[in-house]
């Protein structure tokens, strides 16, 4: 059984359509990254799953029920974009209030405050909190009651690099416990390793969906090989150019070559046989490269339509 099933969903606000015929599903223990620019439909998709919006067409099922079902909400944790709380209440009071609404225990409140690193500030008023602290309180709130589905809208905004790493580690642990997670975001450096699948949205349409490996294959973007400290950079570049590879000099004694279609290992072997590099760097296409590629495709497509 899928945790989330979105079938043929369109969403219209008056004349504007913000989602076109979206099909998306999420399995148990799966982490999906939902990427796109502002206004691409990420938050709308989340609100549909949360039952805050009724789809104009199509249907959304969560745990095989309607999203507005109280049973669904009991199993669901949500971190909204730019989360805010009651400024006059302390962190502890805030979390206790939400824990009561969700039926979570006070013991879990204390544990979560400890876990997100807010135990020392728990008795301070939320209005004295920094952006990062509010974000961490929001995360603790989303984890109340051991949810089996987590929806995180821009979870790393305002977090420092260490807190971001902590968040990713936490997500990995939850995933291994069978929690399904959707992370909604602009493209994030470092998130690649922690998601099973990525979905790229633009203008309310799903551009690409699949594992990073599949997206890389589909996009056919090159892996960049960079070697430093070469003695025979010139002849090597000439022979690669003859073989049809795209190359460019990298620093004084270095060379960069774009490896397409699985030619990476051959090029690496050749490099090591014919020269003695002091350092080799292999850069597969990052999520950001993939995102740029698919956005470029979409723009080209749109131009083609209007031309």
């Amino acid at each position: 059984m899928n945790v989330i099933d979105i079938q043929g969903v369109s969403q219209r606000y008056g004349q504007t359509t913000v989602l076109h015929d979206l099909n998306l599903s999420l399995g148990e223990g799966e982490v999906l990254g939902l990427f796109g620019h502002n206004g691409a439909g990420k938050t709308t998709s989340m609100k549909l799953v949360l039952g805050l919006l009724q789809p104009s067409a199509g249907q959304v099922r969560v745990f095989d029920r309607l999203p507005s079902d109280p049973h669904v909400r009991q199993m669901l944790g949500y971190l909204p974009e730019n989360v805010t709380f009651y400024p006059q209440m302390s962190g502890l009071e805030t979390l206790r209030h939400f824990a009561r609404l969700k039926g979570a225990s006070n013991a879990q409140v204390d544990r979560l405050l400890e876990e997100v690193g807010l135990a020392a500030a728990a008795r301070r008023r939320v209005k004295t909190y920094s952006k990062g602290m509010r974000q961490r309180l929001g995360l603790a709130q989303a984890l109340l009651g051991e949810p089996r589905l987590l929806l995180l809208d821009e979870p790393t905004v305002g977090l420092d690099p260490i807190a971001t790493q902590d968040l990713y580690r936490l997500l990995d642990r939850l995933r291994s416990q069978g929690t399904s997670i959707i992370i909604c975001s602009h493209v994030l450096p470092g998130v690649e390793a922690h998601i099973n699948r990525a979905a790229i949205l633009t203008q309310g349409r799903l551009l690409a969906l699949g594992s990073l490996r599949k997206l890389r294959e589909d996009a056919g973007l090159p892996t960049l090989l960079r070697a430093n400290g070469l003695k025979r950079a010139g002849p090597l570049q000439a022979s690669w150019n003859r073989a049809g590879h795209v190359t460019q000099r990298w620093g004084v004694e270095g060379l960069e070559v774009a490896a397409l279609n699985g030619s990476k290992l051959d090029l690496l072997r050749q490099l090591l046989n014919e020269d003695d590099p002091s350092d080799v760097e292999i850069a597969p296409p990052s999520l950001e490269d993939l995102y740029r590629y698919y956005m470029g495709q979409a723009a080209a497509h749109a131009n083609g339509e209007t031309a």
Binding site: P70, R73, Y78, N82, Y86, Q88, H97, F98, R100, L101
Partner: protein, 276 residues
């Protein structure tokens, strides 16, 4: 039941935290005690005069204050949470909009009821202890009726505040509307009624006019508190119409209760329709 109680608890502790309860109680206590002793100053007397006169003065005061306080307390109940983003979070929790609204009503209503009890209760105690020849049973009965009707009046305006809060897109709009509602029911309504009476020069069906008083919870409240004393004490202005009203006292109470239920019900319907 539980989610309603949890919402109510939060609203009530908010009322304690930001000292609403303390401020309203103090205000009521000071004003009530002041009126009890100085209310007769206009007629050249100083000191406590009589229970009916005191209740009449208190009721005229509470007609102004109670709606204003209730509206101030609750005008941002929904639009305020929406603006600050917490409503979005609440709506993803396992509780319905009815739970949220009813919880807020119980929390705010509890604050109003407790403040009324503490504030006017103190005044009543002061009169009972300091005035020698007061008839205790009459005092307690009159004050109990006064406090209960004041609370109901406050609850009615809480409901109206939720209605305004549900339809407003911004907090400032809700505040403006709240002020307008207060102005209408407390000041304008009676003037319009008087104008109708005068301008129609008797053309207006005199049997219909008294019923119009039931369209204003503040007038029902005053009718309840000004009637019921022997000799009909000091009814003046539009309210003398009330003596023509062929309804018993219990009907007035029922109308006041209806004025609590109807705005609350409408607020629920409007809140349900509000986009999230």
């Amino acid at each position: 039941m539980n989610p309603i109680w949890n919402m109510a608890r939060k609203e009530f502790s908010d009322g304690l935290r930001n000292r609403w309860l303390l401020a309203i109680s103090l205000l009521f206590a000071i004003l009530a005690t002041g009126i009890a002793w100085l209310g007769a100053a206009a007629s050249g007397q100083l000191g406590f005069t009589s229970v009916p006169a005191t209740i009449a003065s208190l009721a005229s005061l509470a007609t102004f204050l109670m709606p204003l306080i209730a509206l101030l307390l609750a005008y941002d109940a929904i639009v305020g949470e929406d603006e600050s983003g917490t409503l979005l979070l609440l709506l993803t929790y396992p509780l319905g909009r009815g739970h949220i609204l009813l919880g807020k009503f119980i929390g705010h209503g509890g604050i109003l009821a407790l403040a009324t009890l503490i504030g006017f209760g103190c005044a009543m105690l002061a009169i009972a202890v300091l005035v020698d020849d007061v008839e205790l049973s009459l005092l307690v009965w009159a004050f109990a009726r006064f406090m209960l009707s004041s609370t109901l009046l406050g609850w009615g305006f809480l409901g109206l505040a939720y209605v305004l809060s549900s339809i407003s897109a911004e907090k400032s709009t809700a505040a403006g509307l709240a002020l307008g509602v207060w102005f209408f029911f407390v000041l304008v309504f009676d003037l319009v009624l008087l104008a109708l009476l005068v301008l129609s020069e008797g053309q207006f069906n005199p049997r219909v006019l008294p019923w119009l008083l039931l369209l204003n919870p503040a007038d029902i409240y005053r009718l309840i508190n000004l009637s019921g004393f022997d000799g009909g004490a000091s009814t003046a202005g539009v309210l003398s119409l009330g003596s023509d009203l062929p309804v018993p006292g219990t009907m007035l109470w029922l109308c006041l209760l209806l004025w609590v239920a109807a705005p609350l019900g409408s607020a629920w319907l409007l809140f349900r329709r509000r986009a999230s």
